[in-house]
């Protein structure tokens, strides 16, 4: 038993009963690519062959700027959407300039709800985590820290619906764009 524990400690994991996100089939590899180019890097799946690692390095080298460009454009899109709405509402109701600040705060709170407060509900329903664990997972994922202690879709005893992974990928994308926008605003405020 001691030998098994020693082996586990040195990083050898069991290639056992795993879900589609834990094997190197298409979904698992897709999720791995996403976790690489967003620099989250869960680590539940990682390349072990030399060729795989070399490919991973070049993949990340080109994928990460691509991801940054995407996040920036999504952020700009979201920002212009909010400004559009603010403009329309101002024109309709003839409010003053202060209303635009109110609308921006409103948008911020809605996005906070959508990206940080609602997903844990989904996770607790599908993964069986508590709300706190779901919130912790969302936070660690969106800030791209990505410990890997909690990863979606890794429980072999649960069945996941088809739309689950796609919805989570979309959430990661938009959530990261929103968070980057918020951080940019905070830094602008501090200056």
């Amino acid at each position: 038993l001691q030998d098994i524990i020693q082996a586990y400690k040195s990083g050898i994991t069991l290639q056992g009963n795993s879900t589609s996100l834990g094997r190197w089939d298409f979904s698992g590899s897709f999720f791995f690519s996403i976790s690489t180019i967003t620099t989250i890097g869960y680590g539940n799946l990682s390349p072990s062959t030399a060729a795989g690692r070399v490919f991973c390095i070049f993949f990340a080298l080109f994928g990460i700027p691509l991801n940054l460009v995407l996040l920036n454009s999504i952020g700009q899109l979201m920002l212009s959407g909010v400004q559009h709405c603010a403009h329309h509402l101002e024109e309709k109701f003839h409010w003053q300039k202060k209303a635009s600040l109110l609308i921006k705060i409103c948008a911020l709170l809605t996005c906070l709800l959508l990206f940080l407060l609602l997903p844990p509900v989904l996770f607790s329903a599908k993964e069986g985590w508590s709300y706190e664990e779901g919130f912790y997972y969302s936070f660690i994922t969106l800030t791209t820290i990505g410990f890997g202690d909690y990863v979606i879709g890794m429980n072999p005893d649960r069945t996941y619906p088809g739309w689950y992974k796609n919805v989570v990928s979309l959430w990661i994308l938009f959530g990261m764009a929103w968070l980057a926008l918020v951080i940019k605003f905070c830094i602008n405020l501090l200056e």
């Binding site: 400690k9 069991l14 056992g16 620099t39 869960y42 991973c56 390095i57 460009v69 410990f147």
Partner: protein, 395 residues
Amino acid sequence: MALTSQPLQGKKRCKKIFWAVFPHACFILSLVIYAFLGALMFSHIEGNRKVNSSEGYRNFLQGLWSISKNLSDNMTENEEVFKEKIYNLLGTFEQEWFVDPKKIWNFFGSLFFCCTVFTTVGYGNTYPITRTGKYLCMLYALFGIPLMFLVLTDMGDILATVLSKCYNEFRKLQSKILASKLCSVFMCKKESETKSRRSLLMKSKVVINEPWSIVEVLKSQSAFKRKPIQYRNAEIFEMLIAKEKEYTKLSRTKSIERWSSCPELERGKTMMSVIENFDKIGKELEKLDVPILLMILVIFVYISCAAAILPKWETNLDFQEAFYFCFITLTTIGFGDTQLQHPRFFLFLSLYIIIGMEIVFIAFKLGQDRLIVFYKKVISFCGEKKIAPKKIYPK
């Protein structure tokens, strides 16, 4: 008078250097203090976790015991049954049963953990298990990540200046060699001298520049010689205008220098310049325009240096694995599949890691800009294609 003014000048210079270095040192120091505070907090909270044997652990041990009890006397049958049952049982294994929190969450372990949090690397070999630990981790990340980002941007300015100066020198050398070659071929010394001086002046202004419009960026990408004459003239004109701007800027700074004779004004001026410098954080970074292949080369050389020395104390890593590990760390992906035997020594390389993240950050920024330029080219190309068929149809 001359004798007394010299030590005064030395003092002034010391003060200048101090106030120039102070803001940068301030940022780095605040990050270090933040890391140390975090390490203390986490080692206290997670290190004092009570290792109560959880239910899962007890079930695991019970399962093991029942397997060993039910082994029959037949040896070959035993082996198969044992392997199958152990396989299923080990699927329920949880790492946290067998780790001693006091050993992992000592001061250096928690320091390593804090570094993985605010650099967003997030290996996952240590992670908070208690509830307070998780909340604290989120709070810590919320303030630590912007602080790290600030330090990175601040040091990025320094690095960008160093890089562009080196690149400048390299281009000057290149044009000198080119000019000397032209000289030997055409045997006209005066002309080539003025040419080389002009090209030197032009080329030295290439790297740090005001943000260019897309047209200028596209123009600068193609080789200087391949361009038709009218574009070259336009570029020379623009460079001359830029040179004029530089001269007017110089004269402006010269007029400020005259006030330095008055000490109170001088003190106020340094404080103002220090405060102004806080606004300029990140501006140098935006102006950087070095070829991206050069940046990628710099990254590979930088990582190879670390990958060469890392296997000296990490005996189970060879060069290829150390390279992969450094790359995954510096891009902050941080899978956590490669376990370090001595995380402590890796912490000593923290300056190396910050500079490395810096370089990778700059490279990704440049990659972003290049990608946007590429996309605009593609879209404009597609747009032109769409317009062209319309012209065929006569009215």
